[in-house]
């Protein structure tokens, strides 16, 4: 396809800059996002055996809930009844108390309630492992540690840059599409090879990336979007729909909520095919009780990452809100569920989970190759200008970050996942975050100090070893953990093997590659052919 050369050149520059700004954040988001595909398995692997008494039968839940509310009246506002219990969900009833009532993103403490053999209430705050939640947070905020709200907004900006990078990347590729698409030239010319890989990966996963960019923009910005709609038109249009003068709350106390056993029975009758997993008894903003049921229905795409939602009448247990429920919702609701489920990969069962896992990792690799290309093309430009090769500070730093940040992310998430086993009951979200960031910043600092070439040789085995800590933790702490997930250990071993292969290829490249490369050891040593290098610092 023919395009004006100035347009292609302009978009090539735009693609490079939006890519280099957003690439490393996107790497972290995609890598962590790929792991979240198996968050449930991760939770089973990471959660220690609970010391709570066995969950009571469904018929005894009202008794348990009454005792919970008597002991902690805050639980009356919102509590969850878990129909499926196990290592990753040890208690029949749990409730969460926010540390700051005004901030909906404030950290929460979750309590787990059970009845012992004598019918006495037992409450614990040690529950399933928080590592799954940490990986999820890493996925949403790329580990930026600037708070939830600013982190979301920043990732929203990154998602916008990602969208621009997709459009500009396609424009740049269009003129040479037919020539380049099926030609992956794995030869001496490293830049050509990375470019071919980047193009083929980018083009074939384009639909996946378009979905991710557009949905990520909404996930990051949906509060500001709704707020600006409300500030301009939606509130004004809604006013006449509310009947004026009617009291908002019915007189008298609301009727007692329907019991879990009744809900399960009526759902089996009303929604055959839908398997409820948890009943969330809560309070609507206007103070009236609410009941949300999360469950699974393999026939439809899920609204959530691993659940679909039914809204029930808390007094009778009949379905009143089918908006989010596959098969019951209207066309608009189904369309919205489509947006969510396409982002979460929560349709089509385990095959789609694996496909999304692979595509997530491929996406992370796409951003890594993009960064490499930026460094490679900067290198060439400088060679033309200045004769003897002295890599600019920007190229050196970005080269080092391109090595340090992705490897730091791989190693940091591996070590923090492995740490779930020794930490067991004392694990918190903050501890997992501290471990991840210590490893991550250690890798980044190492890469900045040692330069990209040496850091790559030294950090690749480091990241491979970090991945090995996962099966090692499985072996060392098998006595304290009831459940094992051999597939998770196997994936860590395979990933470790891949990093060793990459390490060997890097060793070859560093020794035999061109001397003016940022990947050359000679260029990085002071006695090499570039005497000004590093002494200037």
């Amino acid at each position: 396809m023919k395009l004006r050369t100035d347009i292609v050149k302009m978009y090539k520059e735009i693609h490079g800059w939006v890519g280099i700004i957003s690439g490393l954040c996107l790497f972290v988001a995609f890598y962590a996002g790929a792991i979240t595909m198996f968050e449930h398995s991760l939770q089973r692997w990471a959660s220690p055996a609970s010391t709570l008494p066995a969950p009571v039968a469904l018929e005894r839940v009202p008794e348990l809930v009454d005792k919970v509310i008597a002991a902690d009246p805050r639980a009356a506002k919102a509590y969850t009844v878990h129909l499926q219990t196990g290592t990753e969900e040890p208690a029949r009833v749990s409730w969460s108390i926010a540390s700051d009532k005004r901030d909906e993103h404030a950290p929460q403490t979750t309590f787990y309630g059970a009845l012992d053999a004598k019918g006495q209430l037992v409450v614990q705050s040690a529950g399933p492992s928080p590592v799954g939640g940490f990986i999820d947070q890493l996925h949403q905020q790329a580990g930026l540690m600037i708070g939830t709200e600013p982190g979301l907004l920043l990732m929203g900006v990154v998602s916008l840059l990602y969208a621009i990078a997709l459009v500009s990347g396609v424009i740049v590729l269009l003129p040479s599409l037919v020539k380049d698409l099926f030609a992956t030239r794995l030869g001496r010319n490293a830049k050509r090879m990375w470019l071919d890989l980047h193009n083929v990966l980018g083009l074939f996963s384009l639909p996946f990336h378009i979905i991710m960019a557009l949905t990520a923009v909404v996930f990051a910005f949906h509060d500001p979007f709704y707020a600006s709609q409300g500030a301009t038109f939606s509130n004004a249009m809604e006013r006449p729909a509310r009947p004026a003068g009617k009291p908002p709350t019915p007189p008298g106390p609301p009727p007692a909520p329907v019991s879990p056993a009744t809900v399960v029975a009526s759902l089996a009758h009303e929604l055959p095919g839908f398997t409820p997993k948890e009943l969330r008894y809560g309070t609507a903003p206007n103070g009236t009780p609410s009941l949300q049921v999360r469950g699974e229905d393999p026939r439809y795409g899920n609204r959530g990452p691993n659940f679909t939602v039914a809204i029930l009448d808390p007094a009778t247990g009949t379905v009143t809100g089918p908006d989010y429920l596959g098969g019951q919702q209207d066309g608009w609701g189904a369309l919205l569920t489509g947006f969510f489920t396409l982002h979460f990969g929560s349709f089509g069962g385990i095959a789609i989970r694996w496909a999304y896992f692979v595509m997530g990792l491929a996406g992370a690799f796409l951003f890594y190759t993009g960064n490499l290309l930026w460094v490679e093309s900067r290198r060439k430009r400088e060679r033309r200008q200045s004769g003897p090769v002295v890599q600019s500070r920007a190229t050196r730093i970005l080269g080092a970050l391109t090595v340090g940040a992705p490897l730091g992310c791989v190693a940091g998430s591996a070590v923090t996942i492995a740490a779930a086993k020794p930490l067991a009951a004392v694990a918190t979200l903050g501890l997992h975050s501290a471990i991840y960031h210590a490893v991550f910043f250690g890798f980044v600092a190492w890469a900045l100090v040692r330069g990209s070439a040496r850091a790559a040789i030294e950090l690749l085995p480091g990241a491979a070893l970090a991945l090995l800590t996962i099966p090692l933790a499985s072996l060392a702490f098998s006595a304290r953990f009831e459940t094992s997930v051999p597939a998770l250990d196997a994936i860590a071993v395979v990933a470790c093997g891949l990093l060793v292969l990459i390490w060997r290829a890097t060793l070859t490249r560093v020794r035999q590659g061109p001397r003016d490369s940022v990947w050359s050891l000679e260029a990085a040593t002071p006695q090499g052919p570039a005497p000004r290098e590093e002494t200037a610092q």
């Binding site: 004006r4 100035d6 347009i7 050149k9 302009m10 978009y11 520059e13 735009i14 916008l160 969208a163 621009i164 997709l166 459009v167 500009s168 960019a213 557009l214 949905t215 923009v217 909404v218 910005f221 949906h222 979007f225 709704y226 600006s228 709609q229 301009t232 038109f233 939606s234 004004a236 249009m237 809604e238 006449p240 729909a241 509310r242 908006d323 919702q329 209207d330 608009w332 609701g333 369309l335 919205l336 947006f339």
Partner: protein, 97 residues
């Protein structure tokens, strides 16, 4: 006569127009859809949610293609001209009063 060459040098003015006016335009179009679909109702209807989702693709497309304007000034001028009828129409629906 061939059109003048485009360059990425004057990106700031074009990108700012795409980010700010692109958002204003996307919000306006979502408002017209909100009105046309009859999304208003008690609480947040699925139609209303759909109009919120519309903002993302429109904004992303404008941001991606705003670099095709010859200059930042033209980007601001043309996008303003696009916003005007959309917001006038939205005003005409009575939703802004």
């Amino acid at each position: 006569m061939s059109p003048p060459e485009l360059t990425s040098r004057n990106w700031l003015g074009k990108a700012a127009a795409g980010a700010i006016l692109g958002y204003v335009l996307a919000l306006g179009i979502s408002g017209l859809c909100y009105w046309a679909l009859g999304a208003a109702g008690q609480g947040l209807s699925t139609r209303a949610q759909f109009t919120m989702w519309l903002i993302s693709p429109i904004w992303c497309l404008i941001l991606s293609f705003c670099f095709l304007f010859r200059s930042g000034l033209r980007a601001w001028a043309v996008l303003s001209l696009c916003c005007a009828p959309v917001w006038l129409a939205l005003y005409a629906t009575g939703a802004l009063s």
